[in-house]
Point group: D4
Chain length 223, copies 8
Amino acid sequence: MTGSDAVDLGFARVDIAREARQGLPEVIYGTGKTAAEIASIAQTLLRHNTGPVLATRVDASTAASVLDAVGNGTYDAQARLLVWRPAAPVGFTVVVAAAGTADQPVAHEAAAVATAAGLTVTTVTDVGVAGLHRLLAEQDRLRAADTVIVVAGMEGALASAIGGLVACPVVAVPTSTGYGAGLEGITALLAMHASCAAGITVVNIDSGFGAAMAAFRLSRVAR
Amino acid sequence: MTGSDAVDLGFARVDIAREARQGLPEVIYGTGKTAAEIASIAQTLLRHNTGPVLATRVDASTAASVLDAVGNGTYDAQARLLVWRPAAPVGFTVVVAAAGTADQPVAHEAAAVATAAGLTVTTVTDVGVAGLHRLLAEQDRLRAADTVIVVAGMEGALASAIGGLVACPVVAVPTSTGYGAGLEGITALLAMHASCAAGITVVNIDSGFGAAMAAFRLSRVAR
Amino acid sequence: MTGSDAVDLGFARVDIAREARQGLPEVIYGTGKTAAEIASIAQTLLRHNTGPVLATRVDASTAASVLDAVGNGTYDAQARLLVWRPAAPVGFTVVVAAAGTADQPVAHEAAAVATAAGLTVTTVTDVGVAGLHRLLAEQDRLRAADTVIVVAGMEGALASAIGGLVACPVVAVPTSTGYGAGLEGITALLAMHASCAAGITVVNIDSGFGAAMAAFRLSRVAR
Amino acid sequence: MTGSDAVDLGFARVDIAREARQGLPEVIYGTGKTAAEIASIAQTLLRHNTGPVLATRVDASTAASVLDAVGNGTYDAQARLLVWRPAAPVGFTVVVAAAGTADQPVAHEAAAVATAAGLTVTTVTDVGVAGLHRLLAEQDRLRAADTVIVVAGMEGALASAIGGLVACPVVAVPTSTGYGAGLEGITALLAMHASCAAGITVVNIDSGFGAAMAAFRLSRVAR
Amino acid sequence: MTGSDAVDLGFARVDIAREARQGLPEVIYGTGKTAAEIASIAQTLLRHNTGPVLATRVDASTAASVLDAVGNGTYDAQARLLVWRPAAPVGFTVVVAAAGTADQPVAHEAAAVATAAGLTVTTVTDVGVAGLHRLLAEQDRLRAADTVIVVAGMEGALASAIGGLVACPVVAVPTSTGYGAGLEGITALLAMHASCAAGITVVNIDSGFGAAMAAFRLSRVAR
Amino acid sequence: MTGSDAVDLGFARVDIAREARQGLPEVIYGTGKTAAEIASIAQTLLRHNTGPVLATRVDASTAASVLDAVGNGTYDAQARLLVWRPAAPVGFTVVVAAAGTADQPVAHEAAAVATAAGLTVTTVTDVGVAGLHRLLAEQDRLRAADTVIVVAGMEGALASAIGGLVACPVVAVPTSTGYGAGLEGITALLAMHASCAAGITVVNIDSGFGAAMAAFRLSRVAR
Amino acid sequence: MTGSDAVDLGFARVDIAREARQGLPEVIYGTGKTAAEIASIAQTLLRHNTGPVLATRVDASTAASVLDAVGNGTYDAQARLLVWRPAAPVGFTVVVAAAGTADQPVAHEAAAVATAAGLTVTTVTDVGVAGLHRLLAEQDRLRAADTVIVVAGMEGALASAIGGLVACPVVAVPTSTGYGAGLEGITALLAMHASCAAGITVVNIDSGFGAAMAAFRLSRVAR
Amino acid sequence: MTGSDAVDLGFARVDIAREARQGLPEVIYGTGKTAAEIASIAQTLLRHNTGPVLATRVDASTAASVLDAVGNGTYDAQARLLVWRPAAPVGFTVVVAAAGTADQPVAHEAAAVATAAGLTVTTVTDVGVAGLHRLLAEQDRLRAADTVIVVAGMEGALASAIGGLVACPVVAVPTSTGYGAGLEGITALLAMHASCAAGITVVNIDSGFGAAMAAFRLSRVAR
């Protein structure tokens, strides 16, 4: 590993060796970057790597400009995600379970990133613990997954409930939905850590991306 | 309501009109009071009121001294509660549901105070959401209650789950069990407030007493 | 209880069995939902349930669109609430007591939701503890209630004062009014939990809805 | 004002000009100081100043050693205060109002320091807002004071209530009594700041000393 | 004191007895009130009381509407304050000392409210402790005051420094100026409480109004 | 799944179906349980299940009593862990990497629990980022693992550094080591979530147990 | 040092003696000041001092107005900095190392202020610890510096890594980049303080200015 | 830099290359290490390095055992520091300024570590801002230093005041002295960051060690 593994664009130093190290090219974090900057990094990654190239948290108008500059990409507006060269499916199944309707933007990001990285994703929505029968009706689908990503705001109790139902890895994503005592997702994050269900792991608030990347790491164990 | 409704003992001003106003004599908060002080207040309340007299958060040796001074009382060591003249049952049923073994001291306090106040209490323990079948197996018992008190630490998810199962009032008590991200009960308190189950109410951390008193207020609605 | 108790609309899984379980159909949380989504859920609930259908936190223009699509509803702008098929009064009285003028939007939500659910509501405003005579002048009205909902921001002291005056259940709603040390309602929430008045219960910040639902649960005890 | 206004004892630099600047010699903060250190500072102050010399937060055994070394002092065990040469009364009256029995150590410190500084103190205890009649019965006494010091933990609501009853300055002292959501006095401190009663001022948690010193400053306005 | 001491306007219950109780009519808190509401309350106070009538936190366009409806008032744009019938000077002097330029809006509010209440105010600006000579140059002016109001954000150190320089009461107002670790004024508020200068008192963040009202209470001691 | 899947011991409701559901019997959380209680639960689990039985957070003297009552167990004092019937190795390798010497108790718990569950563990200690060469020297060992558990307190930077070096799943455990700004592990927990390394997951503070259980879930993906 | 060392402009008291005391004229903090105020202070400083005059946090349109009024200045839009009379280089080298692209505004401010104060600055960007080879490739450049300013948000781990690589002073600037658990920079600030690398110092969140000024102080040691 | 630069003692991996990299051997953090462990690391460092060897936060009885095992060391009880082979003075002067008597343990650690590292230290105690004349009397001594370390708890205002008086680098150490709103040093840490004095830097709470190491880094700039 050497310094020449990075391409210096002035405003960014693109890590073109990440694909070799970690199986997936560096993912572009769109917040605060101009369309020109995103395009330039994407072109660099497309040229030096062979796998999927992604840019997260990109709004619609920026995305349009980027796609004009860098062809053959697609934009998923719900997930706010740009993708070029998505990976072929590797046969690893992920269920993204979202507690409520308000958690869907984060669930979309998780699903879209995981799909672009070659995982096979199904989504289960609106299965919050205040109506347990909705959750229990999905038990078989949850148990058939290689990994479950749980997306939940408010009190985040869905992670504990699913953690107790399935044997596979559970990656919990707290969301900033709700108000007041939800503290913009802090309460859900803390609650998921304090969960009585053993072996649950947690990623950052609203980070559908982080959960998908964790699932991608998991998928490599199975290969 | 006048100032003469209080008996001034110098170190305390005993509210002897509370029984008339609220149906139950003032309850003595034992923390930081000497045995002599507790005994003096208890005697005042026994003399001026006719209902049950209670002292909470009393340790065993203090309790022994108080009982020496003020006869006809009983001490519940698990609940750390002194009781004189317990109320006759009024026919209002409460289920105290505790998430884990560590939550039992608080559950005991809730149950003992409610019982002394005339409520009929049954207890369900170790029904945390990480093993939902344990909870679901108790559904009938929970649904038959006039009120459910949920005692849970860690992430406090049991309150949401029970809140969705029953139609009656649910009083949630966060506990300071657990460690790290549980923040000594703050996480459970916040999570219970952010709960996705509508109409749950919450009392202070570790306050089995507060939950029992809330249930007592509820019992008066039904009369 | 089975999975077929829910109607899957794709973006939401409507819990049509909640009315049977809890006496009131699921309430639609309007934040983050489009008019089309709210209308679709409302229609589903109106079709599969017989009781009142409500949508909270709906702004005026969204409400107008929803009412165009789903007839026979009414919109309460102060409470930001949509209601179809309000319940007939069940004879359970609630007093909503608001500490200050700034607490009125939350008080309105509490009153409107409770009324739609069949409770009989009267409102007492501007009775903060800085002018105790205003509160004391309302003692008789407060004491005649089956339940008091206390709405207060800033330091939330009104909950303690009313908790000491009445014998019935008290549900406290902290509000995010005030500034600085009020911490957007966190201070009032914590203060209400630390209250010296026994048996008060608390719901989430600004959750007039939660308080009304708690009162609805209470009303079922009395039947 | 010059550097020679301080006497350097090596471990401390005694501000012997404070009496001239502020009307009262520097007060010794006992926490973390040895008996020998306290004695040495006290002797320095007694020699270079003419007014009262005080040491706060001194435990009983340390106090005994200090009094052995520096004669003519007295120790108030409840207030944990050492006093030499108390001031003659200046005719300024302070009422110290404590919400509950648990707040008495802080109330004692406030009363003892104020008395040693020449103020005339009366104490009113156990007037928490959960029993408003106890407070209202003391209205005349509160209104006759030049200043009221309010000592309250838990939710600190007493400060708001008294702030609305009296016209004189109100100094509120939050205490660390209570548990859970009281956050060791932080909740009371924040609540007192967010108070709806105008013109209340607040000092540090458990700082009976600070409140007494604030009252002393006030007493100088009146002279 | 009776309930008839309040005038019920529906949206507000005006406390017309406050002038008799506390020497100043109730002050209108403008945030969240319409021009019509402010005007209505102001008229009520002007009719039933004889002293100054104030409305704080009123923006310019609302103020213009209110003044159209209620004549003989003035608007101070920097202080965002409406005043009718200002009090005649009572001969009590206040120095408002502001740490930096950014603290001036809060300092203006303090000065304008105090002036309207009859106090005599001078203002000292930009005397933060990072340039102590600027502060020391104002010592004489500070020492001549009956009371000093210290307005400071960031770390709030000015309160400690002035607290050590003067003998009179010091009321500290933390402000929300600064960024990052200043935590919107929370840091200054906590720092002022933890101050090493004895007898300083503190009011809410950005509450120039609260400080002025505290000074008004102080002014009554001196009469 | 039925309620009869749990054995009710009065003080606990043992979940004997967890082994079937999740591949490992319920693990006993030792904190707050007596030796008799731990022994009773262990015997229940040994009788109804066939896999390894563990009790965490057991001090030495309690452990001795438990082992007297329930034979064939072993106690690991550094990990404070009791184990009966450890699982045979399943061929899944875990590297536990600890940032500093102070993190070793947590690292020991992670290693011991994972080993008892059938994973193959090696440990790398004292590889904090302040001496990167120590970490880089272990790159090959880290890259050969199926999963890396990172144990780090203070600022928790090791998780980010390792997250960037390896392609496999990384489970980060914040520890409560350090002082001051480390906030008893809260800072490390937050920092690990905010990590710039994609796909890292986090468990509760000091929860070596939680990390081991997460690794166990991962191991099942690979089978 | 006297009071006449300050020029009172009414809205500000310009400290014209700071250049003599600290080697650099007072720097104007632009936030909340009008163009006219900035211009007036700048003119005062230019007249009474001889060194560089700076105004930070000035937006583009305000800057244009100021430059119209006060000639011979330059505006750096990325740094949001106005400079008149920049200092000649003093031969002290600073490397500003930024963890990611999002940290560049803060890095720009640090670099521009330091340059204007006479330091020689080079910038290294996008060297976050998730790609250690990028950082290690810059070791020689970092080690050649007199001082390194580390600008990093999210978990702030770059400060620890660089702290271990270089022997010179390290000034860490936490930034408010990132989301969720990053808590607007608080997490990075705390993590940098809890760093395992000895002798790192930290300035306020987003304060490129503070770091540059710290470097300027350091540069004086070397002269 | 290679992995062989570290000596693996099993429980610790001693970084023997740190002296070459940073000018001072690794310093042993005593908390949580046994006397045998400290002795073993010290011997390793003495053997492989030539500079001073230090162990911080060592209590007296542990220190005695270590000194028995590793000769020629000295123990400073006030600083809780073990030193072998202290460095010869390099001619760099540090003033350690402590706000109050309670801050002396931290000031002692700073002074003792800096001295052992070859810096020339003088100490100024009890110069808190509540008595500014004490501070101003020491101006000349402060201005003559190459660096000032400011040690202050409570509100930490001393850092701002000294930051404005001197031109040299200022390293501020918040301490956990005080009570209540001081939040165990968090308030002082935040206040020092929010300071109005430009270019101050801050280290962790109670970290006299960190400040001394920062000063050591500074001393290398001057050589």
